[in-house]
């Protein structure tokens, strides 16, 4: 059965690694639903957060092929319930719909979204949450005319505790070539 998994890949900060990482997915024709990359809590180590929907058996194989890449420090996969995760969405709507009846503004407040900018022509709204939540807001605002919409990749933090620093220490020993 296909399920949604979040893959966390920790890498050294080298040029071209994004390409190496994504090749592992494209080779097997796996669709990457979202991807977010940033530096982790350890300087020089980057964390890729990748969301895919696949069978767990296949995900395990992908994890091993990711780990096999020389500059990949580690790769892990998680069910959604092992994670706390968020996405951020930005919506651009015409400002005049906000003044007209006040309904659009109610919707925005109701969703705990906030205004990032209000210009005479357009306003920009920001909402953080799971995809379903940012999608509901999208659906409700749609009748008022959404001029532009963008949603980020998922960022996630795992509930199980294993500190990256500890993990790196272990690697210092296992990576010895003897």
């Amino acid at each position: 059965m296909k399920t949604q998994f979040t893959i966390s890949v920790l890498t050294e900060n080298h040029i071209g690694l994004l390409n190496r990482v994504s090749i592992i997915f494209t080779r097997r024709r796996i669709n990457i639903e979202s991807i977010a990359v940033s530096e982790s809590e350890v300087k020089g180590i980057h964390r890729y957060t990748i969301v895919i929907t696949e069978e767990e058996e296949l995900v395990k194989k992908v994890i091993k092929q990711l780990e096999k890449q020389i500059d990949v420090v580690g790769a892990f996969y998680y069910n959604n319930d092992e994670l706390v995760y968020q996405e951020i969405a930005l919506y651009k709507i015409p400002t005049n719909v906000l003044v007209a009846g006040g309904k659009a503004e109610q919707i925005v407040r109701h969703h705990n979204a906030r205004f990032l900018a209000v210009e005479p022509e357009f306003s920009i709204i920001e909402k953080t949450g799971h995809k379903e939540e940012t999608q509901v807001l999208f659906n409700e605002l749609e009748p008022y005319g959404i001029l532009e919409f963008v949603r980020s990749g998922r960022v996630a933090i795992t509930k199980p505790m294993k500190q990256l620093k500890e993990y790196l220490k272990e690697l210092e020993i296992t990576s010895l070539n003897n």
Binding site: T11, E12, H14, I15, G16, N19, R20, I23, R27, K60, K61, K64, Q65, E67, K68, I70, D71, V72, V73, L168, L171, E172, T174, S175, L176, N177, N178
Partner: protein, 570 residues
Amino acid sequence: MEELLLEKVSTITGAEAVVKCLLAENVEVMFGYPGGAIMPVYDALYDYQEELKHILTRHEQGAIHAAQGYARSSGRVGVCIATSGPGATNLITGIADAQIDSTPLVCITGQVHAHLLGTDAFQETDVVGISMPVTKWNCQVTKAEDIPTVLAKAFYIARSGRPGPVLVDITKDAQFGHVEFEYEKCNQIRSYVPKPKVDYLCVKAAAELINEAKKPLVVFGQGVILAEAEKEFKAFIEKAGLPAAWTIMGLSALPSNHELNVGMLGMHGNYAPNKLTNECDVLIAVGMRFDDRVTGNLEQYAKQAKVIHLEIDPAEVDKNVKTTVAVVGDCKASLKQLTALLKDQKHTHWLTNFKELKAIENEKVIQNETNPLVGDMTMGEVIAQINKVTKGEAVVVTDVGQHQMVACRYAEFNQTKSSITSGGLGTMGFCLPAAIGAKFGAPQRQVIAVIGDGGFQMTIQELGTIFQTQIEVKVLILNNQFLGMVRQWQELFFDKRYSSTEMVNPDFQMIAKGYGMAANKVEKRSSLEAAVKEMLTYEGSYLLEVMVGKENNVFPMIETGASVSDIRLE
């Protein structure tokens, strides 16, 4: 005093640093082809001709296959070098081949000036991008001072763990730049675990399974050779009386005449090991990756058996075949630990099964192939004649096709690293340049290139490399005037519709002579034995063309999608 000081602060060019790195890694020979973007390195090589031999091939594909042949016969890292753009792209087939066959290579390519990168400059290709899916690691260098560390890393990655090809792309300005040269060999990269530590609990679990087994079967691959674990492997199978069958990449790790050697696995392998894969109770895989050419239909592969997998690359475990016990790590270490826990056994009754099936194959296939008394000449009888002379001591390099399957089935070997072939990628054109490289890697040994008339013409230009270097390679062309293996499939699966497989060939003897190579052609069985002997005892390179039956087929055969137990004898 002043001189000493000068030496300390003096710098060398990036190009010279490349050469010095190679020397620091004890590289004695490299294969390559010059061009604009790599000229500074070639200029530096000019000053080091004594220390570092550069073999000029006739095509970059020839250079990389030669580096592969060198690596495979010597067990060392093969090095090749090419210019940017077309030079670099011509390496790609060989890189892909080395990746899938785990061959340690360092490929160095020149690149346009750093400030031109991304601008479609003359002879600019994104070779780092192109080679990414087929390299173990690759890297672009744009500064001279980075050259030593990157090359040190390159050699370490290429040879350690599961070996593979590495590509280092060096911009021309980095070659012209200056560096205070200092070389430190790399022996650790924190994100890379070349040899996972063997888990003793897994070894124990594996030993228990083997000790309990009534019908164990060992299937081994090149991992045994790459780990230099031939001795440990032999001790392992001998102690527990385990029949052992090889993948094409594992060929020569165990002597052909060893009593526990039960032959070749896979599509054109031997009858007994394929059939009995589906009857064994414990299947012990050592340093092999369950390629589909070996397993046939996975749904019907060894389903009855418990599977043990000794493997250095964790990504291979459970990739194709689900294991009962996986022993991850270097098989040299794990085999030793495992053998210590095994009971002495003989499995005489089980081994009889192999003998019986071998007798059937012998009668139905092997006799007719290796000793036909009438009809067209066969590839098998030519290989049998070679065995008579070499007595299993030669390095046999093969190309891809029917002759490859026949040579690997029938050639005999007493020592390891003696069979060199393109297994995973099946690269036609591999053989001739790989044989050249193999000779440089094992200069004391006889090297025989066994090639089809098709594959020979894919890299035939490397006769020029033999001519110029005067290296001794015996070239055996098994000429069936067809792209034989494809024709066989057309006969069996496409109603004999021989679409574009018939070859009208040139006079190979005359071509050889143009390259100053002794040559002969055999069309009759009566002159075969003498001709083979003449080729193998001749001092110097020699090309022998043997005209074999045009429409002979290789059997046994497991059809694509069929189970190993459905192996056909005819």
